[in-house]
């Protein structure tokens, strides 16, 4: 059942992505309603798929990258729906839904369990959940950064097109960027700590400087610097947008690295 809902979700997210991208270029506002509806149904289906998967799961079947990515995608849509509900920011869907779709498609490409990470303990669930929540924060910051740079460029070049009219105010995007990192960073920190704990349990050492741990720490230090820079020396607006885009690219690279290492190249 989970697999069926998973496929339905993917189809719906794909439809929503197409619809949201069309919304971006079309002057009409009506498309946003259609897109939002499709996304919401997709989200419901996704929730069912995840619940069904969890019911089936036992203590001995730990979360793998498939689950993590699927969960990541689900969280993205959840946050998007929350922001949309609160700020009526339709255009956010045009950026987040495609990202969620990519994440879900990547999940589909991976097997449902992670063979190389056994033996694992319950802490791994907590570690994966926290890390993924932190990453969702960074993903939202990334999307806000991209939107910021687009709007900044349109304003600077005085191109007042459909996109310009649909994108929100610069300071809103900058604020969204900041809030996402402020929320995502502590979650990632906790994710890393629990990861270190589970590594201690499973491998007997908190940190053994393998590539994914190293990258995770580099990412942590990077976002720490971004956050501190904003609060102290004014790394905001355009610079913050660039930094969060670079940071998220780093996160993605880490993820790909970890996945490749665990599964070998996905062919």
């Amino acid at each position: 059942m989970a697999a069926m809902f998973f496929v339905v979700t993917m189809v719906l997210y794909f439809a929503a992505t197409v619809s949201y991208l069309a919304y971006l270029l079309w002057p009409s506002e009506a498309l946003s309603k259609v897109s939002l509806g499709v996304t919401a149904i997709g989200f419901a289906s996704h929730t069912i798929a995840l619940v069904a998967r969890m019911v089936r799961a036992t203590d001995v079947s730990p979360p793998g990258f498939h689950e993590a990515l699927s969960f990541f995608s689900w969280m993205l849509i959840l946050v998007f729906l929350a922001v949309e509900f609160r700020h009526r920011l339709h255009v956010l869907g045009s950026f987040i839904v495609p990202l969620a779709l990519v994440s879900l498609v990547s999940a589909a490409a991976l097997p449902e369990t992670a063979p190389t990470l056994t033996p694992v303990f319950r802490t791994l669930w907590v570690h994966v959940t926290l890390s993924m929540l932190g990453t969702v924060g960074f993903a939202i910051a990334f999307v806000a950064g991209v939107m910021y740079l687009i709007q900044d460029g349109l304003l600077k070049s005085k191109r007042f097109n459909v996109l310009y009219s649909k994108l929100p105010a610069l300071d809103f995007l900058d604020h969204l960027n900041q809030q996402s990192i402020v929320t995502g960073f502590p979650l990632l920190t906790l994710g890393i700590i629990t990861g270190a704990l589970s590594a201690e349990f499973s491998r007997g050492s908190y940190l053994n400087w393998n590539p994914e741990q190293t990258w995770a720490l580099v990412t942590w230090v990077f976002y720490f610097a971004v956050l501190m820079g904003r609060l102290t020396v004014g790394w905001r607006a355009k610079r913050a947008a660039y930094l969060t885009i670079i940071g998220f690219a780093g996160v993605i690279l880490t993820l790909i690295g970890v996945v490749l290492k665990s599964h070998g190249p996905v062919s």
């Binding site: 304003l155 310009y164 300071d171 809103f172 004014g234 607006a237 610079r239």
Partner: protein, 463 residues
């Protein structure tokens, strides 16, 4: 008698000269009295705004009139000689003077075409002139007509929309930079009309913090009070820029007041919080190089206009429409002015009474068919004699008063008493039945002005 205008505007003189010539409201009466004391100047009105200083007058002779007015303008400021003024002045007479006034009133000659404040300023100038009895029958008519033309232009073209929508466009752009305007601070640099309009728009859209800086500290203080804001010393506004999110500049200075470095420094002080700069000055007051500063968004009047055009989705040349209206209206006034000439009035009066005499004679003689030729002659002679005696005094008075200051009023009265007017003339006359008292009851006159508008409008739309 000739209508002339001598003056200078933002198109011909730099702000330094305009400032020197500007007549403050408190000294307006005195200035008007002085203007009318010049020989050969019969009527006068003085228009003094931050963008123009103009004298409209009715003079006996054009050349000497020009000279007197130029003298008057130079006298207003001791440090300026008449010769120094010459390169900045323009002189128009007759139709061109009237057309100039109409264009000014309709905001076609304004820095921002379509802004509405100039009309209010003309009304004020007119009121002051009425209070000091500086205007007479001709200028009263012409200025009232100018006001009605301006209103016609505003209602029948979308020229006013243009100026309002420039402010609207500025606010709309600001909303793409700042999501909540109520927390933002606007710094108004200079007191340009358009900038004030834009500032009002920002306040209407929730901006609560307004700072004002003008070259003249007193003026800045007044403006700050009006906007419920604070005044900033002009010398240090550049240092103060960092505290403002939205900067509206419109000073009339001929050079850049805000440089790229100024903005770069402010953005840095603001820790990269975005700044929105609007330059509504012609020529520009903010260095266009500011565009290259990150997190600073500079828009000038052309950008805003382009945005307005784009909003509208169609390019309408409203100004051209308005110009055509001005030409039509000048034609109407020209006809009226011609009617004020004495000779044609005397001829018209003669023709009129002769027509009446002829008609009555034909009627009477038709009934008295058996009169002898001598008797017929006697009846005709009696009719002529009655008619001539009736109009004799009118004729003599018209000829005698032709050169007095009230000559035009007598001509006007004669035309009215004997129904000599044509349609165009009565249109201009419209509501002016109490004309001779005009100077004594300014309020009534202003009300007249309000009434004139619809009538003129409907009249012209019949054409």
């Amino acid at each position: 008698m000739h209508i002339v205008v001598v003056g200078l505007s933002h198109k011909t003189a730099p702000v330094e000269i305009r400032e020197k010539l500007a007549v403050p409201e408190s000294r307006m009466g005195e200035a008007l009295t002085r203007l009318c004391s010049y020989q050969g100047v019969r009527e006068g009105i003085l228009l003094s705004t931050c963008n123009r200083v103009e004298v409209y007058a009715v003079v006996d002779e054009i050349e000497s009139g020009y000279g007197r007015i130029q003298e008057f303008l130079a006298d207003a400021h001791l440090s300026l000689s008449s010769e120094q003024l010459t390169p900045h002045l323009y002189w128009h007479q007759g139709d061109r003077a009237i057309s100039h006034l109409f264009r000014v009133a309709a905001s076609l000659d304004s820095m921002i075409v379509g802004e509405s404040q100039i009309l209010g300023q003309i009304k004020e100038a007119f009121e002051v002139a009425l209070t000091h009895k500086a205007t007479g029958i001709i200028l009263n008519k012409v200025v009232k007509k100018a006001i009605s033309v301006a209103k016609r232009v505003r209602t029948e073209t979308r020229i006013a929309e243009m100026a309002v929508s420039v402010s609207y466009a500025a606010v709309e752009l600001a909303k793409k930079i700042f999501s909540d305007l109520s927390e933002k601070t606007v710094l108004l640099v200079g007191a340009g009309e358009m900038a004030k309009l834009a500032a009002r728009h920002f306040i209407a859209n929730g901006v609560r913090h307004v700072r004002v800086t003008t070259r003249n500290p007193q003026h800045g203080l007044e403006l700050a009070n009006r906007f419920g804001g604070t005044a900033v010393a002009f010398e240090q506004f550049r240092e103060d820029m960092a505290s403002a999110d939205i900067i509206l500049v419109s000073t009339g200075a001929a050079h850049y007041l805000v440089s790229e470095d100024d903005v770069q420094r402010s953005v840095k002080q603001r820790m990269n919080r975005p700044m929105f700069l609007i330059d509504i000055s012609v020529p520009r007051n903010i260095d266009p190089a500011v565009r290259h500063v990150d997190n600073a968004f500079l828009f000038d009047i052309d950008d805003l206009k382009a945005r307005v055009e784009q909003n509208r989705g169609e390019r309408l040349n409203e100004a051209e429409k308005a110009e055509r209206m001005v030409v039509d209206e000048v034609g109407i006034v020209r006809q009226w002015l011609q009617s004020l000439e004495v000779t044609p009035t005397i001829v018209a009066l003669r023709t009129r009474v002769d027509d009446i005499k002829r008609a009555e004679l034909d009627k009477t003689l038709g009934r008295l068919a058996n009169l002898s030729p001598l008797e017929r002659e006697l009846v005709e002679a009696m009719a002529s004699s009655i008619v001539n005696k009736l109009i004799h005094n009118t004729m003599v008075t018209l000829k005698a008063e032709v050169n007095s200051s009230e000559g035009a009023a007598f001509v006007e009265a004669a035309r009215r008493f004997f129904s000599l007017g044509d349609s165009a003339v009565s249109n201009v006359n419209g509501s002016a039945s109490s004309e001779p008292e005009a100077c004594h009851s300014s309020q009534e006159d202003i009300r007249d002005v309000e009434e004139v508008t619809p009538r003129t409008g409907s009249k012209t739309s019949d054409h």
